[in-house]
């Protein structure tokens, strides 16, 4: 960087930092996006100039589900190994959010002192981000149907990722979920250092392939894939009956790994973070110890206690996520540890404005098991209708309570929860923030 560049960088960062202070001082918000937006206009190369100062590397995390949980686990592992880490923990994952995150961690002159940055990147933004920075690692978790009103289609996203990754250095580690056929094929077509994670535990196979499935066709020739078994959505053990496409050899043996939190999806999150940590050369003892001590991020499987009652929030923002939540909740219900659920469906921009995806969720499985289900949110009647249409008789085991007012819905659900049980709350993203605000008096920790 020459002197002039340095001054320009300092200027952009300085102004952005001033804006951050102002926004916070005037209590206008969390300042997780605006400073980056303005600084980016002052200096379009900010992402590159800031990220290349990282002493060890830049790790980008993409995927529909699990970005935050995986990033937090990876961050903990790296911190426990003595590294200084930056992470866009507020979930602001568009270019402005990435820049804001780096600025927040640099001094007034745009000097950054950290070893690694772990940046969660929106799946649609990855190609643009890759034009502006050179990551050492890209971690691709999964590609599910999510917010189609914003994003378009799984196939086209994977195609654009491939084009964008092709031009990166051959030393870049690309760590992909081998159980996801689309991503596995993507990995097979790349010339970088590609490693695959996934499960090898047939005892976890689902009994049937859920409806909310996107990629059951061979990404190479379009033939229907042959599945030996499915772990979650379209993630599983497969090969193509028509061409030579098959699941790549995995770099991890999932049977040897313990996992964080609950649910099969968190097995994937654990393996993903663990494999990245292994490529960095971190000892297995440190990885294992971090996994044992890991606590959930806010809103995602987080446990709270209000008035001596235990509450667990399980963010569910798309069909695959909600199906997995239902699987986890039903497991708990079978042990009589929870009788009451609160489902909150919103349709704001962060949730996706189209709520028809709830009809791709297998809510039949949730209703089958009975209990109280309180529903609320902007689209309370859509959610209620979905549940009503989940049974073939007019009298079901479920006690459906429809409550437009969220605060009253929360109170009702708490009332219905006995002291020795846990209330499970299943919200979309903005609903999760609202619920937290009601429970804790603030949106984010």
């Amino acid at each position: 960087m020459n002197i002039l560049e340095g001054i320009r960088l300092g200027l952009a960062v300085g102004i952005a930092k001033t804006i951050t202070s102002l926004v916070k001082l005037l209590k206008l918000g969390a300042a997780s996006v605006l400073p980056g937006e303005i600084a980016g206009r002052l200096h379009p190369q900010l992402l590159r100039l800031l990220s290349q100062q990282l002493t060890q590397g830049l790790i980008l995390v993409v995927g529909t589900n699990g970005k935050t949980t995986t990033s937090l686990l990876l961050k903990d592992i790296l911190v426990n190994n003595g590294y200084k880490i930056i992470h866009n923990s507020t979930g602001a994952n568009l270019i402005n959010g990435l820049v804001t995150c780096l600025i927040t961690h640099s001094n007034l002159w745009g000097k950054l002192t950290a070893d690694y940055a772990i940046l969660e990147v929106d799946e649609n933004v990855l190609p643009l981000a890759l034009k502006q920075c050179n990551p050492t690692h890209i971690l691709a978790l999964n590609l599910f149907r999510d917010q189609l009103d914003r994003y378009g289609e799984v196939d086209s996203i994977s195609y654009r990722w491939q084009n964008a990754i092709e031009s990166l250095s051959k030393d870049t580690f690309i760590i992909v979920n081998g159980d996801d056929p689309t991503l596995c094929y993507l990995g097979q077509n790349l010339s970088q250092k590609v490693l695959f994670f996934g499960l090898n535990e047939p005892e976890l196979y689902l009994e049937e392939i859920p409806h909310a499935v996107d990629s059951i066709y061979c990404p190479k020739c379009g033939t229907s894939l042959n599945y030996r078994g499915v772990y979650l959505s379209h993630l599983g053990d497969y090969d193509c009956p028509n061409c030579d496409f098959a699941k790549s050899k995995l770099s991890v043996n999932s049977q040897e790994w313990q996992q964080i939190l609950i649910g099969v999806y968190n097995k994937y999150n654990t393996l993903a973070a663990g494999l990245v940590a292994e490529t960095i050369g971190i000892k297995k003892e440190i990885i294992n110890e971090t996994i044992t001590n890991f606590k959930a991020a806010f809103g995602r499987a987080e446990e709270l206690t209000i008035n001596d009652k235990k509450i667990r929030i399980l963010l569910s923002k798309n069909p695959v996520g909600m199906n997995e939540t239902i699987r986890a909740v039903n497991d708990i219900k079978k042990h009589n540890l929870s009788s009451t659920l609160l489902m909150v469906l919103n349709d704001r921009i962060p949730d996706g404005t189209d709520v028809s995806w709830i009809w791709d969720v297998d809510t039949e499985k949730l209703v089958e098991i009975g209990g109280n289900i309180v529903v609320s949110g902007d689209r309370v009647y859509d959610m209620a209708l979905r549940l009503k249409y989940s049974v073939d008789t007019l009298d079901s085991a479920m006690n459906l309570i429809v409550e437009e007012n969220l605060s009253q819905a929360v109170n009702k659900a708490l009332e219905l929860t006995p002291l020795n049980e846990t209330l499970y709350i299943i919200p979309t993203y903005s609903a999760m923030l609202e619920v937290r605000k009601l429970l804790l008096g603030r949106e984010i920790l």
């Binding site: 289609e153 086209s156 066709y217 028809s356 009809w359 009647y381 209708l385 979905r386 249409y389």
Partner: protein, 259 residues
């Protein structure tokens, strides 16, 4: 008389991108809740020709581009002839988003060659290019198609406003086929002429996901009535169901988008 209805579901694995299976679930449940026998028949690559025609009401949803291509390659010859025959003779159906494009004369994608449809509905769909915004958002429209409107008025005592969610890149232009409705809010077929969907014989074509039927259950009941009438050549009155959740939902949505 024992009534049994078979719901034909067009390519369930390929054409159900936006929750449109809700239309199948809705028809199935509303039969079950009334103790009418009902079954679902997937109509796809694996269905043999003999079985392909054994449906009394048909449901089609939307698809991603690659999936839609697979469908269009499979649905020709005898299967296409069966579809034409059934729809032309008044077997009722509901087709959302991608499937009306399939039933139309042709679809002109943003890039690539024009894809011929089955030519059952006299309509064409053109994609204006990837730099033109998609038509996305909540939509509301008044039913205008005849005799659907008259039937619904008789059922409900009023002419209904339908709500849904549209999300389409292609713009549809109608030829000699009547529109399903007149747009109250949203884009409809093309964002220009103020019409939404198409209506032909007893088939409803629309861009409204939501899904359409659970949110507007009178349309589901109309399809069930038509299916029974066609199959058993007999007029029928359905047992009323409690639709207060759907009505409240529609009311809340109309209040939100009309003010």
């Amino acid at each position: 008389m024992t009534i049994h209805l078979t719901i034909g579901w067009l390519y369930p694995k390929l054409m159900s991108t936006y929750g449109d299976r809700g239309n199948v679930i809705c028809l199935e449940r509303r039969c079950q809740w009334r103790n009418l026998d009902v079954s679902i028949l997937p109509l796809d690559q694996d269905t043999d020709i003999k079985t392909f025609s054994e449906f009394d009401v048909i449901v089609g949803g939307g698809a991603q581009d690659r999936q839609q291509e697979i469908v269009m390659r499979d649905l020709h010859g005898e299967k296409a002839e069966i579809m034409k025959e059934k729809i032309n003779t008044g077997i009722p159906g509901v087709f959302t988003c991608g499937s009306p494009q399939l039933l139309g004369n042709y679809y002109e994608p943003a890039i690539g060659q024009k894809i011929d449809g089955l030519g059952i509905l006299d309509l064409v769909t053109k994609h204006p290019g990837q730099n033109v915004s998609r038509c996305i958002g909540n939509v509301a429209f008044d039913i205008v198609a005849s005799p659907l409107l008259e039937d619904l008025k008789e059922m409900l005592g009023e002419s209904p406003t339908v709500v849904g969610f549209e999300n389409h890149g292609g713009r549809t232009y109608l030829g000699k086929v009547s529109p399903l409705g007149k747009v109250v809010r949203g884009y409809g077929n093309n964002g220009e002429d103020g019409f939404e969907g198409a209506f032909y014989q007893n088939s409803i074509a629309t861009y409204a996901h939501g899904p359409l039927l659970p949110k507007n259950p009178f349309l589901a009941d109309w399809l069930i009535i038509k299916a029974i009438e066609q199959k058993y050549q007999k007029k029928i009155t359905l047992t009323p169901l409690d639709d207060s959740l759907a009505n409240k939902g529609r009311k809340a949505m109309l209040k939100r988008i009309l003010t």
